[in-house]
């Protein structure tokens, strides 16, 4: 897929993302946040990092980068958009995804492998997976605690918008499996129209054996189908 990896000042997973996408066979190129045209791309990826130093709130200032107007415009027309970590935070700030990512419950920056349960395999991002599959993918964030009010959570669950939940290696949803205190163990969600997906864990850091897991590949491979 022709893919744009958006680079903000402070992005630091942009090269990992570009490398992972190309490794799997996509045609990924960088697009600077001051650009305003995404017409040549089928997929837009907002990578992880600390855009604008996470000042004010993670993703708050990136929201107003010129490229985000264009991202919102093409997302509303149905183009696929994926936000990883800081990218997920930006997608909630701009309102393409509901909720917000707040400070981790234990206040620590978490950099560790986690297990994810696939909740919805009927999406552009997960069609090479099965519901209830377990993926081992790392997280690296200080603000990954997914929050949405009860009514909103109910709507997400009812519309099958929860894509990934934190789980343990036995696929049990127990509090010790939830690294940051996210509501309902939510690690990744998709828009109602199923074209915008955001997740806190980093699939681009799990694409080669040497990285400790290749489970992230299935997400990038799903995009072909």
């Amino acid at each position: 897929m022709k893919t744009a990896v958006i680079v903000f000042p402070g992005s630091n997973c942009d090269y990992d993302m570009l490398s992972a996408l190309n490794f799997v066979g996509h045609e990924a190129t960088f697009v600077w946040h001051k650009d305003t045209d995404l017409s040549g791309f089928e997929l837009i990826v907002l990578p992880g990092g600390f855009s604008y130093g996470d000042y004010l709130r993670a993703g708050a200032i990136a929201h107003f980068s010129p490229i985000m107007n264009e991202t919102i415009r093409v997302a509303k027309k149905g183009k696929f958009v994926m936000g990883i970590c800081n990218g997920f935070q930006i997608l909630t700030e701009v309102g393409l995804l509901p909720g917000a990512l707040i400070r981790n419950q234990n206040l620590r920056f978490l950099c560790q492998q986690v297990y994810l349960r696939v909740e919805n395999s009927d999406t552009k991002f997960t069609n090479q997976l099965q519901k209830d599959d377990i993926l081992k993918i790392p997280v690296a964030h200080g603000e990954g605690n997914y929050y949405l009010d009860e009514d909103g959570i109910k709507m997400l669950e009812d519309n099958e918008q929860v894509v990934f939940r934190y789980t343990n290696s036995d696929n049990k949803l127990v509090p010790s499996a939830n690294p940051n205190g996210s509501k309902n163990y939510i690690a990744g969600i998709i828009s109602k129209e199923k074209n915008v997906m955001g997740m806190m864990p980093h699939p681009e850091r799990a694409v080669e054996e040497i990285l400790g897991s290749t489970d992230g590949c299935s997400i990038f491979k799903s995009l072909f189908c």
Binding site: R57, I61, A100, I102, Q105, L107, Y147, L148
Partner: protein, 83 residues
């Protein structure tokens, strides 16, 4: 004119920073402090002195950028005396 915007997490949203500070205060013996919530204090220096217009501008800016209405409440004070 000066405006102050105070931003805090909505009631009911866990504030782990406030909780950690409360624990530290309790360790120092301040048991009477029952809860701590930490927010942001933002000072804006604004051209003009039309109170209504400035209030409107600050409200819009707060809603758009300074606070995230999904998780935060904001309170605006305009300091008329400090022109």
């Amino acid at each position: 004119m000066k405006a102050i915007v105070k931003v805090k997490l909505k009631e009911g949203i866990l504030d782990p920073q406030g909780r950690a500070v409360k624990t530290a205060l309790h360790h120092l013996g301040y048991q009477k402090i029952k809860d701590v919530r930490i927010g942001k204090y933002i000072e804006l220096d604004i051209d003009g002195n039309d109170f209504i217009a400035i209030k409107g501008l600050v409200t819009e800016a707060s809603h758009k950028l300074l606070a995230n209405p999904v998780i935060e409440d904001y309170f605006i004070e305009i300091e008329e005396g400090k022109r």
